[in-house]
């Protein structure tokens, strides 16, 4: 008798539960779809606006009438060589910066990951202090000035190359690799340098991929250092060029040379802004999905307490 009652009770709760679960499941999907829409609508809007006749866009909004679409914005953006110069500079800065920074990071993290390294504590402390405490804007600026790096590519590439957070990431990743591997390599007659390049690096691919992505993205998207350290127009990275178009609202003269009427000018410069956004963001948007499989691994390495 008792047993039966219990069973009935049990089946009842189960039914109720699955109902709650079902509601949850549905609202979960609804919430996620909302989230995705909020993320993606502005991006799609920019893409379509960059392809639409600006007058139609401002009068009627987005339309799928393809006769109103145009690639005029893109043609005009490429008429001005400043954007191309910025693009070339940004590629150069990002690639050089990434190579130097990731190289330094991987090398610096190695001794810090070994147990017997003399002075480890000292170096760790020095690195960590710089993470939370810096000289500030003006002292750093004066230092760059005194090193004669103002208005040179070095002012962009060197100051940020040592990134302590990344060193901690790499160190934690090395620590996760078994010690026996290094000992075995030693027994086989490999020295530290051979071990590092021939054995350690190949198994560190995930962390290297994440560091490369981080540094490349950081450099590609930064503008502040270039704004304060670089004066010559031909050294400017892409972000500074597009800053004048997007934020300061000054279209490049080469892009609008043929337009006289002020109202038409305002419309065209809006179209130019949309096209500029698409062109400057496209490289990274194409690049990042290839790194997706490494994201979680790399982020986790850093979260394990240093």
């Amino acid at each position: 008798m008792m047993e039966k009652e219990y069973k009935e009770d049990d089946s009842m709760t189960k039914k109720k539960l699955s109902k709650v679960d079902a509601i949850f499941e549905k609202s979960n999907i609804v919430l996620l779809v909302l989230f995705v829409l909020v993320i993606i609508i502005p991006l799609i809007y920019v893409l379509i606006a960059s392809l639409m006749d600006p007058v139609t866009l401002s009068n009627k909004g987005i339309s799928l009438d393809f006769s109103k679409w145009t690639v005029d914005g893109y043609k005009r953006v490429f008429k001005d060589n400043m954007l191309l110069i910025g693009f070339r500079n940004s590629v150069f800065y990002s690639v050089t910066f990434t190579v130097i920074s990731v190289g330094v990071t991987l090398l610096a993290a190695y001794p810090l990951s070994l147990t017997g390294f003399v002075g480890k504590k000292f170096f760790n402390t020095i690195f960590i202090i710089t993470m939370f405490f810096g000289g500030g804007l003006m002292p750093t600026y004066l230092l760059i000035d005194k090193l004669h790096m103002l208005n040179t590519v070095w002012a962009i590439i060197l100051p940020g190359a040592v990134n302590v957070w990344n060193i901690i990431l790499a160190r934690t990743y090395y620590k996760g690799i078994s010690k026996e591997l290094r000992e075995a390599a030693k027994v086989d007659g490999a020295n530290d340098i051979q071990y590092f390049f021939k054995i350690l690096m190949p198994i560190c691919k995930p962390i290297i991929a994440v560091l490369v992505l981080y540094q490349f993205v950081a450099q590609w998207n930064s503008y502040f250092d270039a704004m304060i350290y670089l004066k010559s127009a031909d050294l400017q990275p892409l972000q500074l060029v597009i800053r004048s178009i997007l934020v300061q609202n000054i279209p490049r003269p080469g892009m609008i040379a043929d337009i006289q009427n002020a109202a038409a000018m305002a419309k065209i410069s809006e179209l130019l802004k949309y096209s500029t956004i698409v062109i400057s963001s496209l490289p990274l948007i194409i690049m990042y999905p290839f790194f997706q499989k490494y994201f979680e691994k790399g982020m986790m390495a850093g979260s394990v307490k240093g």
Binding site: N221, V247, K273, I285
Partner: protein, 270 residues
């Protein structure tokens, strides 16, 4: 090396004297800042922007990760993740540019407002709107990316524990609260301390990009003030002092938050 330059904060710096021969004025720069009429406004702007930003944007990645972990189909989950990560790869300048376009008086946002019978406003020149614009766009840009650490953590949820909870009759909210939140709690603590430790250094590049002369009453924060004083007006010593003041407050906040978290988290800080 740049830290030696902090001496500037105590000097009346001139280009002729340089770092070592400029007159030493002790704490005068600090006194000047603390007694200036801008001081309270700057400090409050900085604190409000970063504290509100932390409170609004901190929980969202956690909720997103929890929702994502309940999506059963692996391929669907991957696709959603890919999309929500995208804005993280867009530059601050482009985000600022998009905001100027979308929120301008003739932009799409105001058009929707007008359709719904509202009044059009230029949000980019309105001091009242600055923080909302800054924080909302910040969430849009970083929430997806910030959810990765929690997603990775949630992969470690003990499935046997979940099954046992289901048998014991725990509903889905009880499961999330008692199992999943507990699993990611250490990560939440670490992320919170890191975020709090950066409170005075908040998104300086973005604040600068979103500044317009008209929204300065709320958009001028200490780091942008340091930039204007130092590099645009050339007041090196004073600018350094203000920057140093900012760093010191930041460190005090970091230590305080760490202590509070230690206290409520059974002695576990960072």
């Amino acid at each position: 090396m740049p830290m030696g330059g902090l001496l500037l904060a105590f000097e009346n710096y001139s280009a002729i004297g340089g770092l070592f021969n400029s007159p030493w004025i002790g704490l005068d720069n600090f006194r000047r800042f603390l007694s200036s009429p801008d001081f309270m406004n700057l400090l409050l702007n900085t604190l409000k922007l970063s504290v509100y930003s932390l409170l609004w944007s901190f929980p969202i990645p956690i909720i997103l990760a929890l929702l994502l972990s309940r999506v059963r189909r692996e391929s669907l989950r991957r696709k959603i993740q890919l999309i929500v990560y995208a804005p993280n790869f867009i530059s601050v300048i482009v985000v600022a540019g998009m905001l100027f376009l979308f929120l301008s008086p003739v932009g799409p946002f105001n058009k929707i407002i007008a359709l719904l019978g509202g009044v059009t406003t230029n949000y980019m020149t309105s001091p009242a709107a600055f923080r909302t614009v800054y924080i909302a766009s910040g969430i849009w840009q970083t929430a997806g990316w910030a959810s990765i650490v929690y997603t990775a953590c949630l992969a470690n949820v003990n499935q046997e524990l979940v099954d046992a909870a289901v048998i014991d009759g725990a509903n889905i909210f009880q499961q999330i609260w008692n199992i999943e939140i507990q699993t990611i709690k250490p990560m939440i603590v670490i992320q919170f301390i890191l975020a709090a430790g950066n409170i005075m250094g908040i998104g300086f590049e973005k604040a600068l990009a979103l500044q317009t002369p008209l929204n300065l009453p709320t958009s001028q924060i200490i780091p942008t003030y340091v930039y204007q004083l130092g590099l645009q007006l050339g007041d090196y010593g004073f600018s350094t002092a203000v920057g140093l003041f900012n760093s010191v407050i930041n460190i005090i906040l970091l230590i305080a938050v760490n202590q509070v978290v230690k206290h409520i988290n059974d002695g576990e800080g960072i």
